[in-house]
Symmetry: C2
Subunit: 179 residues, 2 copies
Amino acid sequence: MKIYFVTGNESKFKEVNSVLDFIEQLDIDLPEIQEIDSQKIIEEKLKVALNHTDGKFIVEDNSLLINGMNGLPGPQIKWFLKTIKNEGLYNLTKIFGTEATAKVIIGLAENPDSIRYFEGVIEGDIVSPRGENGFGWDAIFQPKGYDKTFAEMTHDEKNNFSMRRIAVEKLKDYLNNNA
Amino acid sequence: MKIYFVTGNESKFKEVNSVLDFIEQLDIDLPEIQEIDSQKIIEEKLKVALNHTDGKFIVEDNSLLINGMNGLPGPQIKWFLKTIKNEGLYNLTKIFGTEATAKVIIGLAENPDSIRYFEGVIEGDIVSPRGENGFGWDAIFQPKGYDKTFAEMTHDEKNNFSMRRIAVEKLKDYLNNNA
């Protein structure tokens, strides 16, 4: 049975496809519910995907949590970027501290009763924007133990240890052990 | 044809019902999409409601915008309350200023091709929490021209000029003129 990665984002698909070469891209629009719990967002999307066609599906959710904000922005990071931008996110650290968590959760639905989640987490700090690579909030996120932001790393440097990579490797292990 | 106000919130229903005595409450669960545009949130909810039963439907969305945050928290205010609470929202004013907009938008769907929106807006300032009445962010919102927060006003005092009241009166005018 085919495994579809539901995404409209080509570069996300390539990143995941480089580890899992048997998956196929499915670019359909799935509704995103208003939540700060990524698993609930993924669950709703997978339910819709399962009604779309036969197959197994994966969906990912990407979030940035400022630790002092108890879960915010979380999956709502895209609205923070649209409104207050990286500069405003950096300003938030003056109140809530710089410690932050970058997270990717991948959900795998083999059927409606069986959704499994694979999580990749990188701890870091929100810093004043630096670097030109990547996208989104890459310029303000500096992983612990590094002196570069994601936007100052090359594509390969970042992908070697990114939260998406960690989550995909966990999914790969699961699929290999349950083929 | 019946007009249903879709809400699980009894006190919101009473407030609207006191102006529009012919509406009925319909307590069904409508999905809330992740958006900062209230009209899009309302539109998706009304589409689901119209598939539920025959009738006309009203849905409301309540939001708080910190003017310096370009639309945040907006309809996502409930997640800000859950995570950083009123104290954290007040702290945001140290970066983004105190000016804020309280907004209620009511959507009326007579059929899928005709959704009308009625807006009530109150300008104010975010202040350090004061008062025990009301709920949500009432304790930190002080309308322009008043020296009390919403939480320091009685129920009747607030309802006389609230953003919900303004929106409901506009809806009433529309319904009276199009009966």
